[in-house]
């Protein structure tokens, strides 16, 4: 339960919609409960759970075994509004509302970049995993993590360039 928020966020940004994110998280916990003997006490539980989640996401969604919730992505209007309706734990003062607006823009931009660049950003920037941990989860070399992160962030910068203030120090 300690890592539920983290797993949900990772699932949300990988699948790009709430319905599939819920499926991913439920399946992750089901698999974890069925395979807990494979977990070595004292090692990184968060990374272990994330690996289970990513393996399920990869098998189920990137190999086309399931289709993403297409109704949530199809219409232009729905696509425009979806990221604006993010559930938030702390709705409140103006600063938090602006934060939510930025979150929506970033979420929209992240959803547009290819899976291979999105996954490292979700793991390293959102999940606080090290390059080594992210490499273990994604089953790829550390160098690949760094290069995909670099390219992924460049893509995000381009997508967000109209929204982000030019001087990052002003943000």
């Amino acid at each position: 339960m300690d890592h539920l928020d983290h797993l949900y966020r990772v699932a949300f940004y990988l699948t790009k919609n709430e319905e599939d994110a819920r499926d991913c998280v439920q399946e992750t916990y089901a698999r974890a409960l069925g395979s807990y003997r494979q977990f070595t006490l004292g090692t990184n539980l968060k990374a272990w759970l994330t690996r289970i989640l990513y393996n399920f996401f990869f098998d189920a969604y990137t190999r086309n075994k399931h289709t993403l919730a297409v109704d949530l992505l199809e219409t232009a209007e729905h696509k425009k509004n979806f990221w604006d309706t993010l559930p938030s734990a702390n709705p409140g003062p103006e600063k938090l509302i602006l934060q939510q607006e930025l979150a929506a823009k970033i979420g929209d931009a992240i959803s547009k970049i290819p899976d291979e660049f999105r996954a490292p950003i979700v793991l390293v920037d959102m999940g606080d995993f090290s390059y080594q941990e992210a490499a273990d989860i994604l089953s790829c070399p550390i160098g690949t993590i760094r290069s995909r992160l670099s390219r992924g962030r460049r893509l995000l910068e381009k997508l967000l360039s109209e929204y982000l203030v030019q001087d990052p120090k002003e943000r």
Binding site: M1, A30, S35
Partner: protein, 270 residues
């Protein structure tokens, strides 16, 4: 250093994932290059914004409750937890305090009887485990590094023994997952090999030739000068052999002849 070389290093610097040499090199470049310095600052700010954006996502409350219930159900289904919660209930009831001594004695006797119960048959159990893995009932947590898997498995049994080192690459099979399991009160290391449409599970544990199933057929390998024991249950085949005080049982649905060839390390010619 050219700016093109600095780009990935800038990413590593943002994440504090550079070696000392790399860090010194890129910082020296940043000291002289305004564009790359600006890139570094933009990337730092972007990472900060991404982290803030992530915090805006919260787990829906109903999903949280569902997961919590499922976890609580698992805990309540374990034998030890049932006993512990029963004891706690007794302890909480003032009227039953005089019976605590009897309850403790009853628990000790029950534990002794449980330990003394007839042991489950290892070969039958491992065939069932293999079937559970192949059918997907037990999910595999796949790994990328075979050497690391071997280390972790060895650590799981406190280095008392290691999984039998099998090189099945000539059969186009590679280790993809592994775990430690308790069977008949013995530690068993399980390594799953996959490839070319086949799955072979290797079970390693401390034992002797007496662990061979009674209905197994013995084959003596004149080259290796060891015995191989072949057996089957419900269409799943196993081959056991001993290396020192370690038993290795390979389990698969491939034919017994092919499985024996794999165990012997020799390609099978049908």
């Amino acid at each position: 250093m050219h700016c093109s070389e600095a780009q990935e290093l800038i990413t590593g610097l943002v994440d504090d994932e550079l070696t000392a040499i790399e860090k010194a090199a890129v910082e020296e470049h940043l000291a002289e290059c305004h564009d790359c310095t600006a890139q570094f600052e933009r990337e730092m700010a972007l990472k900060r914004d991404i982290r803030l954006a992530a915090r805006a996502i919260a787990v829906p409350q109903d999903l949280r409750e569902q997961i919590a219930k499922r976890g609580a159900k698992l805990e309540s289904d374990t034998w030890a937890t049932r006993v512990i919660s029963s004891v706690r209930e007794w302890l909480a009831t003032a009227r039953l305090r005089p019976i605590y001594g009897f309850a403790v004695v009853a628990l000790v006797v029950a534990a002794w009887l449980f330990q003394s119960r007839p042991r489950e048959d290892i070969p039958t159990r491992i065939l069932a485990i293999h079937e559970s893995l192949v059918s997907g009932k037990t999910a595999l947590v796949r790994v990328n590094d075979a050497a690391q898997l071997r280390q972790e498995l060895t650590r799981a049994v406190e280095s008392r023994f290691e999984p039998v080192a099998l090189d099945l690459s000539k059969f186009k099979l590679h280790p993809v997952a592994g775990f430690a399991e308790k069977i008949a009160n013995r530690d068993v290391l399980v390594t799953v090999y996959e490839g070319d449409g086949s799955t072979i599970t290797c079970f390693t544990f401390l034992g002797g030739e007496a662990d061979a199933p009674q209905d197994s057929e013995r084959f003596f390998d004149p080259d290796k000068r060891i015995n191989f024991y072949g057996f089957s249950r419900a269409g799943v085949n196993g081959v056991m052999h001993r290396e020192g005080n370690v038993i290795c049982i390979l389990v698969s649905k491939i034919s017994p002849a092919e499985l024996l060839a794999v165990a012997r390390g020799k390609p099978h010619h049908a």
